[in-house]
């Protein structure tokens, strides 16, 4: 095992092309020992290919992959999956239907002598609390139990890393949260290094120590769930990881700093931006937008409610501002502004805003010094739910 803190999995400039389309394009990634990393992105972004490359099911065109300090793919050669010591957990569980639970789990332990093999099978089945189902066949188990067996089978040979490819999408909604909690619990309990691919934003944020957001074969951002959600590195990440609206905004030089304003008024002060005067865009998430009834067209943030979606605890209001741009706002369920009602939108206090210049986030005055790269025109509502 690798010492703590060293990467258990390391991808260095890995590219994999199918035909003319790069499925994975110059991806760098480190997964530290004992870490649980989630990889998320829209369909076809290459997230599953990353997993297949780590497992050895695909051979990278360029770049290198290092597992536990050993190069398994790269200039030095290619190690096939059966000699990589990786665990794989698939969405369809992929249990061997002709083998019992115990023999499924024992499949990867054929190099152990019988006594130790049986002990290890009992041990991992105990971990996933399925010890009493050892003699069953896969078709006699529920979906959640099958997924736990799949994890036990992957864990049994003590792999360097366990790779999970959308492991919960085949389970129905009610079961998913429970099975997810159990599986993540086992991964944490055993200190297993794991990479989990998902297309579910909530899952990626709630499960991962770190989140890797991918798009069109490239890594768009890597960071803790908080970083990815609160300080998205790009317009794509901002809109993919949760709902977001974008408004043109302006940085005004102020005494002792700078002030950020947009159509709905003052967003926040920008300490450290003293003396900057620049056009940017501000990312506003629905929970960051406040609404008050009534509107005066002379004041900032005046608008009309165009849509109301009732979500139970919260109500999502869509507001069209005077400029024609729309904004969304979460309101507590007791607050209802009917469609057509005039409202005034404002930014909730205490916000640390994410600013965009072009499609990239800007964090310091230096980033906005030059002309904007790319198209800085506001795009309005830009959401992508996969």
């Amino acid at each position: 095992m690798t010492p703590l803190g060293r990467p258990a999995v390391r991808l260095l400039g890995v590219t994999k092309t199918y035909g003319a389309v790069p499925a994975v394009d110059a991806v760098d990634l480190d997964v530290l020992d004992g870490e649980l990393v989630t990889v998320i992105g829209p369909s076809g972004c290459g997230k599953s290919t990353v997993l297949r490359l780590i497992a050895g099911l695909e051979r990278p065109d360029t770049g290198a992959i290092v597992l536990a300090g050993h190069e398994v793919a790269g200039p030095a050669g290619f190690v096939p999956p059966e000699r990589r010591r990786v665990g794989l957990v698939f969405q369809d569980h992929a249990l061997f239907p002709h083998l019992t639970v115990a023999r499924n789990v024992a499949f990867g332990l054929d190099r152990l002598e019988r006594g130790r093999r049986d002990a290890r099978v009992r041990e991992v089945l105990g971990l996933v609390r399925l010890g009493d189902l050892a003699g069953r066949y896969p078709h006699e188990l529920s979906g959640g139990e099958q997924q736990r067996v799949a994890l036990a089978r992957a864990l049994a040979p003590e792999p360097t890393v366990v790779l999970l490819d959308e492991p919960f999408s085949s389970l129905d909604e009610t079961l998913r949260a429970q099975v997810r909690a159990e599986l993540v619990g086992v991964l944490r309990e055993t200190g297993t290094t794991a990479v989990l691919v998902t297309h579910d934003q909530t899952e990626a944020l709630s499960v991962g120590d770190r989140v890797v957001v991918m798009r069109a074969g490239r890594v768009e951002q890597t960071g803790t769930p908080q970083e990815v959600f609160e300080r998205p590195a790009s317009r794509f990440v901002a809109s993919f990881m949760g709902d977001a609206d974008f408004l043109p905004a302006h940085v005004h030089p102020e005494r002792g700093g700078a002030l950020l304003t947009c159509e709905i008024g003052i967003v926040s002060t920008l300490p450290g931006w003293g003396g900057t005067d620049a056009d940017v865009e501000v990312v506003l998430r629905p929970h960051e937008v406040a609404l008050t009834a009534g509107a005066d067209h002379a004041t900032a943030g005046a608008g009309v409610v165009t849509d109301v979606e009732y979500h139970g605890a919260f109500v999502l209001h869509t507001v069209r501002l005077t400029s024609g741009r729309t904004l969304r706002s979460w309101q507590p369920h007791a607050v209802r502004h009917p469609v057509g009602a005039p409202v005034t939108a404002s930014v909730v206090p205490g916000l640390t805003p994410t600013l965009l210049r072009g499609d990239r986030a800007v964090t310091s005055p230096a980033d906005v010094a030059g002309p904007a790269d790319g198209d800085a025109a506001p795009r309005g509502r830009s959401t992508l739910r996969s």
Binding site: E58, F96, A154, P157, F240
Partner: protein, 556 residues
């Protein structure tokens, strides 16, 4: 949506099998090349061959072949598509049984039905005898002719068209039909203007199968004195051992086969019309009284002519001889020939299944389009006429012989000489790998790529994945493949006739020889045995047809 959605590539690359393993992928390529070798050998030899020594009656051979194909094509189309329509669009007493029973004549090889037909209807047979008894000695009508041959072949081959036409009619579902009816088309107009054209691709596929069988046959046709090009290959090779001429003729047969395939493509056109939404013909008309009886009679008549009456006659001869001669009626050589058949069939089955499993395993390991392409190539031998496979095998063996001799082994492999059991086995493998692979592949399809990949990731090398995961999971497919190939191999006649060494006789060859010399009653027992064996895969087919039919009736 914004540009974000449009820049996202499609998800086509997902769930692909892995990247294949060189040794297994190479094995698939080698198998494919071996299967293609006879055809390639014929092609190569023809292109560099000297001036062709065509037989004098070549033009008549070609015309005869065309007429036979045309006749059998029309015959199977009328009988097969007609019966398929009858059991799909109408309900009548016995219809649910007829749906699957109509496949039965597949168990009757044409070379068996052929001699029973002759014994019954020829001048010396009971039918003409009875006619003469009534009308007095007139001119006898010879049925040893092209029309007689067309009747026999149509009766044994119509199930191909029937099966595919019926699948097409069922698949089109009631919706197309309902749409046509609501647009004011009558029942007949709906059938001829909408359903039949829609079923065209399926009919084309069925007819192509029939044509290939017609081209392959050179035994049945000889009873009827019909000299097709395939007969030409056989008689030139077995009669004069003139290799050059035989190859020339074989290439002509190949040309016919290519024409059939091209014809199928053309008939199918760009059309891929299968309308989803199967279901019972909601407007299936119940035929009551005499009309129902007529429909049932049409089915029964076909079955009687194609199966029950000939089987009855064979059984009658068998019993008759047994009654007169006792156990002595069973020829002593029967045992020897039976052993020959069983040994060759078993070996062929094992070889074909092993190769099929090897290919399926390699495809599961991945390797992309190349491996899948070569895997597909291994199945095309089924569509190559027996004469071409036979002559091609001889050519290929000769080439190998030359090579071995050139390498310094005197006498080469000694395999060629004048045919060998190895040659028969090789030709069988070429011809029967297709059905074997299809059966095994159907089982492999149930093994998800993730299962193979899980096994690999758990540290099992490909060989262990084969023995511990793939083999146990595809056992049902292997069982089906073994049965299919073994039965096909016992039934098979042209390839054995062409390639058998002197003195090597199988049951099918024996039946043919006895029948060719009009020893019909002697041929009865071995012929019955072949029909009985051939029933096994047909019964498997029954279950499939019945399941589809029940599914269709339950649906919608």
């Amino acid at each position: 949506m914004t540009e974000l959605a449009t820049t996202t590539p499609s998800r086509a690359v997902r769930r692909v099998p892995g990247r294949g393993r060189t040794p297994w992928s190479v094995a698939v390529v080698v198998v494919a090349l071996l299967v293609a070798a006879p055809v390639l050998a014929v092609l190569v030899d023809v292109t560099r061959g000297s001036a062709p020594a065509w037989p004098r009656d070549l033009d008549r051979m070609v015309v005869t072949t065309l007429l036979l194909m045309l006749g059998v094509g029309v015959g199977t189309l009328v009988v097969g598509a007609g019966l398929a329509w009858l059991v799909t669009a109408y309900r009548f007493v016995g219809r649910d049984t007829m749906v699957w029973l109509l496949v039965l004549p597949l168990a009757m090889p044409a070379y068996i039905l052929g001699f029973v037909f002759l014994s019954t209807f020829d001048e010396a047979g009971p039918v003409q005898g009875a006619v003469r008894a009534v009308l007095g000695d007139g001119a006898g009508l010879s049925v040893r002719s092209l029309p007689g041959c067309v009747v026999v072949m149509s009766l044994t081959l119509y199930p191909y068209v029937y099966l595919l036409a019926r699948a097409a009619f069922v698949e089109q579902g009631p919706r197309t039909r309902d749409a046509a009816r609501t647009l004011g088309a009558g029942r007949a107009r709906t059938f001829f203007r909408v359903l039949l054209p829609l079923a065209r691709p399926s009919l084309a596929a069925g007819l192509a199968l029939v044509m290939m069988e017609v081209l392959t046959d050179f035994a049945t046709v000889q009873y009827f004195g019909v000299r097709t090009v395939s007969v030409g290959v056989y008689s030139v090779w077995r009669g004069t051992y003139d290799f050059g001429s035989a190859v020339q003729l074989a290439s002509l047969v190949l040309l016919f086969a290519l024409a059939v395939l091209a014809g199928e493509r053309m008939m199918r056109g760009r059309a891929r019309f299968t309308q989803p939404g199967r279901g019972a013909p909601s407007d299936a008309v119940t035929l009551a009284g005499w009309r129902g009886g007529l429909a049932l009679a049409a089915c029964l008549l076909t079955l009687a002519a194609g199966f029950f009456v000939p089987v009855g006659r064979l059984a009658g001869w068998g019993v008759q001889r047994f009654a007169s001669d006792g156990t002595a009626s069973i020829d002593a050589r029967f045992g020897e020939y039976l052993v020959n058949s069983v040994v060759v069939a078993s070996l062929a089955a094992v070889v074909c299944c092993s190769l099929a499993v090897l290919i399926g395993h390699a495809v599961k390991l991945g390797g992309g389009r190349v491996v899948r392409g070569f895997a597909g190539l291994t199945t095309f031998g089924y569509a190559v006429p027996g004469a071409v496979v036979g002559i091609g095998t001889l050519l290929f063996f000769a080439a190998v012989d030359d090579l071995v001799e050139a390498l310094g082994v005197p006498g080469g492999t000694g395999l060629l000489v004048t045919g060998s059991v190895a040659g028969i086995l090789y030709a069988y493998a070429v011809r029967f790998l297709g059905p074997a692979y299809q059966a095994v592949d159907a089982s492999f399809a149930k093994v998800s790529p993730s299962m193979t990949q899980s096994a690999l990731a758990l540290g099992a090398p490909p060989r262990r994945v084969l023995t511990r995961v793939h083999l146990p999971l595809v056992r049902p497919g292997i069982a089906v493949a073994l049965v299919l190939v073994a039965v096909d191999a016992v039934k098979e006649l042209p390839v054995v006739l062409l390639l058998r060494p002197f003195g090597f006789t199988t049951v099918s060859v024996w039946v043919y020889q006895l029948a060719a010399e009009n020893f019909w009653s002697l041929a009865a027992l071995p012929a019955l045995l072949i029909v009985l064996l051939a029933l096994v895969p047909v019964v498997l087919l029954f279950r499939q047809v019945r399941a589809v039919d029940e599914g269709a009736r339950r649906g919608s």
